[in-house]
């Protein structure tokens, strides 16, 4: 006997679909008048569901099994289209993202529908009337609540922690859509089978199969996102490295130009001082000191290190941060200039960033130590910080809300350290953040590019 499809049953399904799709879509950028759109589109969706029900089961009213099944299938496909339209009205994002969220939402609803069916099977087999109102309602409520909560924790929350959904892998998305259609067919078949006297154990097995298929679909969608995330990260890293290399060259040229200018200025000051008494000695001394600050090219014995330390030194001066460096540049000579620039640049950027908003100006001090210990190069950075800081795997976790777009600096540093067979670790000692990078010094040092 085919399940009777009631109007309110179908409207409830639409409500479930909309809710699930919005769960996945909630972090997408919203269109203006979002709340109005939300209510309006939901009302429209539910009305459409009612309308579709009427056309399919009241007007068309198929009676034979095959046509009933086909009608049901068509109805659910239409429902998908309606959900996509409704959700699309609320968010200002690409069609693909909307499709993704709706597909994920659809699968969650499918899963809860499967769970509902399984519960009823068991109830019926235990001797109760699964079609009674009380049982039906209880079954639907339980399956919806349990499945939706579980999917929220397992899929939605981790997705949100990795940043806003932005789907580019379209072929896979189409594949997912196809799989969802199969899921629907599977679910429908499972509903029809009891009418053919299929034994309970087989029905339950098929129900389990359907649940597994739904979970797998969600996992695939999740992985798609994650891969995209990784791809995104790699692209961001390459872009960052190229930017940094450009910056390094610019910085180096600027510093050289400034050095030459300072040299000339100092020369002129000395010359002025040579005139007896006509120039204000104190003013000249002040001038010399000022020029001296810009001549504060750090000389560590390593060109790339000099460049980044001088650049960051000037930045610190500008931000009112005291940067103290004790650096034996020769011990990191085995690193490429680009890696040196990147590693130290990121380390100091993080330190500067942490201290920028400190309320006590006296806390604005960064200590950098680069030294050699036997065959290890040890890089140590200390700075004050404020606010909660959590660590995972020896790395500080970014406190910025959109985690997917931050934390690259630290990850980049770790990648570089690993590339040289080294280790990066960080910890907090009270109000002071301590970063350590330990790099084995290669036995045979490659010729240093100067």
């Amino acid at each position: 006997m085919a399940e009777r499809i009631t109007s309110y049953g179908l409207v409830f399904v639409m409500a479930q679909l909309l809710f699930a799709a919005h769960l996945f879509a909630r972090q997408q950028p919203r269109r203006d008048g979002f709340v109005t759109r939300l209510w309006a589109s939901s009302a429209a969706g539910l009305a459409a569901a009612l309308g579709i029900w009427w056309v399919a089961f009241s007007w068309f009213a198929p009676t034979s099994q095959p046509s009933f099944a086909i009608t049901e299938f068509v109805v659910f496909c239409l429902f998908f289209a309606v959900v996509v339209a409704c959700v699309g009205q609320c968010y200002a994002t690409s069609v693909w993202n909307v499709l993704f969220c709706c597909a994920a939402g659809y699968t969650v609803q499918n899963l809860s529908s499967g769970a509902d069916g399984a519960i009823r099977l068991v109830v019926q087999a235990s001797g109760f009337d699964a079609n009674s109102l009380a049982i039906s309602v209880a079954s639907i409520v339980i399956s919806t609540v349990v499945v939706y909560l579980a999917c929220y924790h397992v899929f939605v929350q981790p997705m949100e922690q990795s940043g806003v959904v932005d789907v580019r892998d379209r072929p896979t998305l189409l594949l997912v859509a196809a799989v969802i259609l199969v899921d629907i067919l599977f679910d429908m078949t499972n509903k029809m089978l009891p009418g053919y006297g299929v034994p309970l154990s087989m029905l339950l097995a098929l129900r389990t199969g359907h649940c597994v298929a739904c979970v797998l679909t969600l996992v695939v969608e999740f992985e798609m996102l994650y891969n995209r995330q990784l791809q995104g990260e790699m692209t961001a890293f390459s872009r960052m490295m190229r930017e940094e290399e450009k910056q390094y060259r610019l910085s180096k040229e600027s510093i050289e130009a400034i050095n030459i200018k300072c040299h000339d200025l100092k020369h002129q000051i000395r010359h002025l001082r040579g005139y007896d008494g006509s120039a204000d000695a104190e003013a000249l001394r002040d001038l010399e000191r000022e020029v001296g600050i810009y001549d504060a090219a750090v000389k560590t014995g390593n060109d790339a290190l000099d460049v980044i330390l001088t650049e960051k030194g000037l930045l610190c001066e500008h931000e009112g941060i005291d940067l103290s460096c004790i650096a034996d540049g020769s011990c990191v000579a085995f690193m490429s200039p680009a890696d040196t620039y990147s590693l130290f640049g990121n380390a100091l950027d993080n330190a500067i960033e942490a201290e920028r908003d400190l309320d006590a100006p006296d806390k604005r001090g960064i200590s950098l130590n680069v030294r050699r210990s036997a065959d290890l190069a040890l890089i140590h950075v200390e700075n004050y910080f404020s606010g909660p800081l959590s660590f995972a795997g020896g790395l500080p976790q970014t406190t910025k809300p959109d985690a997917g777009n931050h934390g690259f600096g630290t990850k980049s540093m770790q990648l570089i350290a690993q590339r040289y067979g080294g280790t990066l670790t960080a910890r907090a000692q009270g109000e002071v953040f301590c970063l350590d990078v330990m790099l084995p010094i290669p036995k045979l040092e490659p010729p240093v590019a100067r």
Partner: protein, 238 residues
Amino acid sequence: MATYQILIVEDDPDESDRLRSYLERYAAEHGKDLHVTTYDNAVPLIESRREFDLIFLDINLPGISGMEAAQLLRAYDETTLIVFVTDLAQYAVKGYEVNALDFVVKPANYYGISMRMDKAIRVLRRRSGRSVTLSAHGGLHVVPLAEIVYVEVANHDLAYHLASGDVVRVRGTMAAAAGELADGPFVRVSNSHLVNMDHIASVRDGAVVTSDGGNVFFSRARKRDALATIASYLGGSI
């Protein structure tokens, strides 16, 4: 409670007083016992050869400069901690040549001093000069912790490899040994090996290279944590 002997070498009396007051404040806030001496030039430092735990050393001094004094000091003293206090940042960069712990930019402020003091004390705390008594098969050995390069499990015994090249075999378990050496600079690199971090020459290819040239391999389970501990220890963060 340990008393730390601190020397300030600073020719500017205002700066000197300020440093002293910061150290007093630090001592009070952190519950440390600091004994502070001040010189206004570096000569008594070299001449008296009085020992200190930590020296705050100005670079720009009358007579012999702070950097020169540090170089002379290092000729006979490898261990006293030096923190330069200076506004000549360029000269301080070379502080590694005299194994300076750090430097502070003049004029110093309390938080800058506090940060360096924290680090100095972390390093000074390592010099406990403790020894362990090992009851080996041939008799009792009293071994300073600093002498132990690494400890390994050998059948039912433990083998303590010393810097001198000797190996002391003792009956015992690694867990017990790790417990006994817990407040020393030791890191568990695998279930069967405990390494003295002060004797680590390098880390490469999944192993620690010790000062005597040996390789002690990490176990997969302990590698990540051990590396983090080593990096933090050698960097002065713990």
